[in-house]
C-alpha cells in the first residue's frame, strides 16, 4: 500500500565528476503528490532513478515507510524489483511485442496472484485509465496518449508503495498535454498513491502537485505548496525560474522581521519581503513578477512614477517595459486594449508582500 518516502542528503556523482544530485532532502507523505521542477539537466531524472533503484546513489539515504532501500554508507541497495515501486518512463517503455493487456498483466505474474485476481486487477486498472476497450490491441497500434496511459496502468496495477513519473507528458502534443495533466491528477488521487512527479513545465507542476520542489544544478532550492512557491519564492533562482522577469540591484537599509526597506539605484526606497537575515547595507536584488507590478493604482506604500519605454502587445494582454527605480521593470496588464502608449508617464505600485528582495549572489 502507498507509503511515505523520505530522502536524506541524497548525492549522485557520475564518473564525469560534477554531482548530478547534490545533497537533496525531502519527504513525501502518504498519498501526497510531489513534483520536482527544474530546467533540463538539473538532476530531476537522476533523483527519480535513485529512488527507483535504477541508479546507485553515492551518498545519502532513501527510505520507504522507514524501510531503508538505498543507503550506500550502510551497504544497503535494494534492487528495483524488490522495491515495489511503479514508474512511468519518459519514453513510456511499453513493451512493443505485447498487447495492452499483456503489458498491464506482466507485473502481476510474479506476485503469486490467482488468474481471476489478475484479470480483475487488470480490468480495474484499464478502466481507471479509460483503456478497457483497447485491452487486446497490440500497443504499437496506439497513439502517444494511449501508450502513456498503458504505462500508467502498468505502473499502478500492482498497487505499488510509490509511483514515479518522469516527464510523462513531454512527448505529447500541446492539446493532449493539457487534457492529460488534469486526468493524471484525478487518477493518481483516486488510487491514493504516493507520487513523485518530474517535469520542467511549471503549469504541469502547479496543476499536479500538492507540493513542488524546485531544483537547480543538483540542489533542491525550495519545496513548497504551489501558492507559497509563487508568493514566497525562497531565493533569486526560484523567483526568476517561476517568472519574476525584473531584477534590480539595491541595498538593504532597514529590516523588521520578514520585511524591510531597500534603497534603489536612483535613491528611492522600496518596501519588500525578504527571506533569511541579510545584514544592513548588504547588496541585494529586487525581484518583481510582471503580474505583480500594478499600473496606475495610486496611494499606499511603494507607489512610484515610471515611464513606458516600450510595449509588447500580445492580444489578450500587454507587457509594458518601464523605466523606473533606476532600472527596467516589466508590468503586465490583462485586456485586449493597451491602455498606455510608448513614452507615457504612469504610476507604478509594487505591493510589499509581492515584491521580494534577495541577497545578491557573490
Amino acid at each position: 500500500m502507498s507509503a511515505e518516502l523520505a530522502i536524506r542528503d541524497l548525492e549522485k556523482v557520475f564518473s564525469t565528476g560534477k554531482p548530478a544530485v547534490d545533497g537533496v532532502s525531502f519527504t513525501i507523505a502518504k498519498g501526497e503528490i510531489v513534483v520536482l521542477l527544474g530546467p533540463s539537466g538539473c538532476g530531476k531524472t537522476t533523483t527519480l532513478r535513485c529512488v527507483a533503484g535504477l541508479e546507485h546513489p553515492t551518498a545519502g539515504e532513501i527510505s520507504l515507510d522507514g524501510d531503508l532501500v538505498s543507503a550506500p554508507a550502510k551497504g544497503i541497495l535494494t534492487p528495483p524489483r524488490a522495491r515495489n515501486i511503479g514508474m512511468v518512463f519518459q519514453s513510456y517503455a511499453v513493451w512493443p511485442h505485447m498487447t495492452v493487456r499483456q503489458n498491464v498483466t506482466y507485473p502481476l505474474r510474479t506476485r503469486g496472484m490467482t488468474r481471476a485476481a489478475m484479470t480483475a486487477a487488470v480490468a480495474e486498472a484499464l478502466d481507471l485509465v479509460d483503456l478497457a476497450a483497447y485491452a487486446d490491441r497490440p500497443v504499437t497500434q496506439l497513439s502517444g496518449g494511449q501508450m502513456q496511459r498503458v504505462a500508467l496502468a502498468r505502473s499502478m496495477v500492482y498497487a505499488p508503495r510509490l509511483l514515479l513519473l518522469d516527464e510523462p507528458l513531454s512527448n505529447l502534443d500541446a492539446q493532449l498535454r493539457l487534457r492529460l495533466r488534469d486526468d493524471l491528477r484525478r487518477i493518481i488521487k483516486r488510487t491514493g498513491l504516493t507520487a513523485l512527479y518530474v517535469t520542467h513545465d511549471q503549469q504541469e507542476a502547479v496543476v499536479l502537485g500538492d507540493r513542488i520542489g524546485v531544483m537547480q544544478d543538483g540542489k533542491l532550492r525550495q519545496m513548497a505548496t504551489p501558492a507559497d512557491l509563487y508568493n514566497r519564492p525562497a531565493d533569486q533562482f526560484v523567483a526568476e525560474f517561476t517568472g519574476a522577469a525584473s531584477m534590480l540591484p539595491c541595498r538593504l537599509v532597514r529590516r523588521e522581521g520578514e520585511f524591510g526597506s531597500v534603497e534603489m539605484a536612483d535613491g528611492r526606497r522600496v518596501e519588500a519581503w525578504m527571506p533569511g537575515a541579510p545584514a544592513i547595507g548588504a547588496a541585494m536584488v529586487l525581484a518583481i513578477r510582471p503580474e505583480n507590478a500594478l499600473l496606475g493604482a495610486a496611494g499606499g506604500p511603494n507607489c512610484f512614477t515610471a515611464r513606458v519605454t516600450s510595449l509588447r502587445y500580445q492580444g489578450t494582454q500587454t507587457i509594458y517595459e518601464l523605466d523606473a527605480l533606476g532600472g527596467r521593470i516589466e508590468a503586465l496588464e490583462l485586456g485586449t486594449a493597451a491602455r498606455h502608449a510608448e513614452g507615457a508617464e504612469v504610476s507604478l505600485t509594487l505591493p510589499p508582500a509581492l515584491t521580494w528582495a534577495y541577497a545578491s549572489l557573490p
Binding site: G75, L77, P79, N84, A93, T110, R154
Partner: protein
C-alpha cells in the same frame, strides 16, 4: 525487504569471470600456443610438449627464406592491387547509386552486393573455368572469333582482378552510407560560394568521406590478405605463392613444418593486426561526416544523357561479376566435356547432362562433407549465438566488472585471418590427448572464435535499438535480470539474434582457411572437399559442387530474410564476405 549488495556483486563477478575463462579458452590459449609454436622447433605431434626448446630460430629462418619474401611480396602486391581496384569500383558505384539519377539505381545497388555472398573459392573456380590460359571459356570464344588476344587468370593480375571485383561491395557499403549521411548543405554551401559540381565533389564530398574510404580500403585489404581460395585456385597453377598458400604448403610437407608455419602465420597476424588498429583509428575519426540520428535527403546530380553511360558501366560490372561466372559454372557443371571446339558447340543441347552431378553425389565423401558442414554450421550457430549474446549483453547493457576486457578480447579475432586461427587451433589441440583434434567440435569452436566479433557486432547493434527503459520497466515490475532478458530483451532482439545465427551458419559453410588445418578424414567439410576436386583437376565436378554450395547459401539467406521479415541488418551483410 532489503537485499544486501554483496550477493549481486558476487554474482556479476562470477559471471564476468566465467565469460573471461571461456574467451581465454577460445581465443587467448590458441593464440598463445601459436606464439609458442613459432618460438620452438619441436613438432608437437611427434615430440609432444615435453622437450621443447624456445628459440627465435624459426623467425630467423623464415625471414631469411626467399620463398617467404616472394610470398610476402606477392601477398602485398595482390592485396594492394585488389584494394585499389575495389576502391575505384566501389566508390564509383556508391556515387552512382546515392548521388546520381542513373536509371535502376535500386536494382544496381541490390545486385551489386551479390559478389559478397560468393565464397572466394567458388569465385576462383568460376574464373579459372573462364580464364585459364589454354582451355578458358573466354579464350575459346576469342579463338573462335579469330582474335589473337588471350586472357590469363592464372597470374598475379588475375588474382588482383578477382579480388578487386569481388571486394568492391565492401568499399561500396562504407562509402555509400557515408555519402547518404552527409549533410547536403555542406555541398550546397560550396556551390553557392562559386564551386562547380566537380570541384565540389573533389574538394568537399570526397575529403569529407575520406575516413569511410580509407576504412573500407583497409578492411578489404585485411580480408584479402587472409583469403586462401582465390590464390589457391588462380595462383597455384602458375606457381605464385602468397602467404596463405605458403603457410598451408608448409604443413603439408612431410614431415610437416608446423613451427615454420606458425612463424609465417605470426607474421601474417602482425601485419593484419597493425592494419586493424589503423582502421579503427581512422573509423573513430569519422564523426564529422555523419550526424547521428538525422536522416538527410541526399542531393542527386542530374547526369542528363550521361546517365546512360553510368548505367552501362554498372551493367558491365554486373555482367562481369554476376552473369559471366554463373554462366561459367553452369556450363562447366552441365556440359559433358568442358572442352569447347567452337561457338556452335557451346549451344549444342546434346552436350549437356546431369552427368557430373551424378558423379559428384555417387562419391560418398560428398554427402559426408555436406552432412559434416551442416553439423558444424548448426553447432557454430548455436554455441556462437549464445556466447555472442552473453558477451554483447554484458558489454552493452550491464555494469559487470571487467567488461572492457571482455569486449577487447572478443574483438581480437578481427585481426586474425582464418588460416592463422586454423594453425593456432592446430597447435593448441593436436598434441593434447583426448581426441578433440579431428572432431567436428574443434571446427565449430574455431569458427565460433573466428566470427565472434562479427556476431557480437550484429547482436549489439540490435540490443542498442532496444530502449534501456524497456528493461528497467520490467525490473521495476519485480523481475530479475534473467527473467527480464527472457520476457523482454530476447523477444525484442529476435531479428538480430536470428540474423546473427544465420550469419554464423553462412560463414561456417563458406569458411575454408581455418578448416584446412582442422579437418580429418571423418570431418571433411564442403569447402575442403570442393578444393580437393579442383586440385584433382576435375573442373566439371568442381563446378557442379560450386553450384550446389551457391544454391544452399541462397536458400539459407532467403529463408532468414523471410523469418526476420526484413533484409538482414547491414552489419550482417558486411560480415558475410569475411569468411573464405
Amino acid at each position: 525487504m532489503s537485499i544486501a549488495t554483496t550477493s549481486p556483486r558476487l554474482f556479476s563477478r562470477a559471471w564476468s569471470a566465467l565469460l573471461l575463462v571461456i574467451l581465454a579458452f577460445l581465443i587467448i590459449y590458441p593464440t598463445g600456443m601459436l606464439l609458442l609454436g613459432a618460438l620452438t622447433d619441436a613438432n608437437p605431434v611427434i615430440d609432444g610438449f615435453a622437450n621443447m626448446q624456445l628459440s627465435l630460430g624459426n623467425f630467423a629462418t623464415v625471414l631469411a627464406n626467399p620463398t617467404v619474401h616472394a610470398a610476402l611480396g606477392n601477398s602485398l602486391l595482390a592485396c594492394t592491387g585488389g584494394t585499389l581496384l575495389a576502391v575505384v569500383i566501389g566508390l564509383f558505384f556508391a556515387w552512382i547509386v546515392v548521388r546520381t539519377d542513373t536509371p535502376m539505381r535500386g536494382f544496381i545497388a541490390a545486385t551489386g552486393m551479390l559478389p559478397l555472398f560468393v565464397p572466394p573459392l567458388v569465385a576462383g573456380v568460376a574464373w579459372a573455368i573462364l580464364g585459364s590460359p589454354k582451355t578458358g571459356l573466354l579464350n575459346t570464344v576469342l579463338a573462335s572469333m579469330g582474335i589473337g588476344f588471350r586472357f590469363n587468370l592464372y597470374s598475379l593480375s588475375g588474382i588482383i582482378f578477382v579480388f578487386g571485383m569481388y571486394y568492391a561491395p565492401y568499399v561500396y557499403m562504407f562509402t555509400a552510407s557515408a555519402l547518404r549521411n552527409m549533410d547536403p548543405s555542406l555541398e550546397e554551401a560550396a556551390e553557392i560560394s562559386g564551386a562547380s559540381a566537380f570541384r565540389t565533389m573533389f574538394t568537399i564530398t570526397f575529403p569529407l568521406i575520406l575516413p569511410a574510404i580509407v576504412s573500407g580500403m583497409l578492411l578489404s585489404f585485411i580480408v584479402m590478405l587472409g583469403i586462401y581460395g582465390v590464390p589457391a585456385t588462380l595462383g597455384a597453377p602458375a606457381n605464385i605463392p602468397v602467404l596463405t598458400t605458403y603457410i598451408f604448403q608448409l604443413t603439408s610437407w612431410s614431415p610437416p613444418r608446423y613451427g615454420t608455419a606458425a612463424s609465417v602465420a605470426m607474421i601474417l597476424m602482425v601485419v593484419t593486426g597493425a592494419l586493424v588498429v589503423i582502421q579503427q583509428k581512422v573509423l573513430s575519426g569519422r564523426s564529422y561526416v555523419t550526424v547521428a540520428g538525422k536522416a538527410f535527403r541526399p542531393r542527386t546530380l542530374r547526369l542528363g544523357p550521361w546517365r546512360w553511360f553510368t548505367f552501362a558501366l554498372a551493367v558491365i560490372y554486373l555482367f562481369v561479376v554476376v552473369l559471366l561466372p554463373t554462366a561459367a559454372l553452369l556450363i562447366g557443371a552441365f556440359r559433358k566435356f568442358l572442352f569447347i571446339r567452337n561457338l556452335e558447340a557451346l549451344f549444342d543441347a546434346k552436350q549437356y547432362s546431369w552427368l557430373h552431378f551424378d558423379r559428384l553425389f555417387s562419391n560418398p565423401a560428398t554427402i559426408d562433407s555436406i552432412v559434416n558442414t551442416m553439423e558444424v554450421g548448426v553447432a557454430t550457430a548455436l554455441i556462437g549465438g549464445v556466447l555472442a549474446f552473453a558477451v554483447g549483453y554484458t558489454v552493452a547493457r550491464t555494469q559487470a566488472p571487467w567488461r572492457r576486457a571482455i569486449d577487447v578480447i572478443a574483438t581480437v579475432p578481427v585481426a586474425i585471418p582464418g588460416l592463422v586461427i586454423g594453425v593456432a587451433y592446430l597447435w593448441a589441440w593436436i598434441g593434447l590427448p583426448g581426441g578433440f583434434y579431428g572432431t567436428i567440435w574443434i571446427l565449430a569452436l574455431a569458427f565460433v572464435a573466428r566470427f565472434l566479433p562479427d556476431t557480437v557486432k550484429v547482436l549489439t547493434s540490435s540490443l542498442m535499438q532496444i530502449h534501456r527503459e524497456l528493461e528497467e520497466a520490467a525490473w521495476l515490475c519485480g523481475r530479475g535480470t534473467l527473467s527480464t532478458i527472457a520476457t523482454i530483451t530476447l523477444p525484442l532482439a529476435r531479428p538480430g539474434v536470428i540474423a546473427a545465427m544465420t550469419l554464423l551458419f553462412v560463414l561456417s559453410i563458406r569458411e575454408l582457411g581455418s578448416s584446412l588445418f582442422l579437418y580429418s578424414s571423418q570431418t571433411m567439410v564442403m569447402a575442403v572437399h570442393l578444393l580437393g576436386y579442383y586440385e584433382g583437376g576435375n573442373f566439371s565436378v568442381t563446378a557442379a559442387f560450386s553450384l550446389v554450395q551457391m544454391v544452399l547459401l541462397a536458400v539459407l539467406i532467403g529463408l532468414t530474410n523471410l523469418a526476420t521479415r526484413s533484409s538482414a541488418p547491414s552489419d550482417a551483410v558486411g560480415s558475410v564476405g569475411r569468411a573464405g
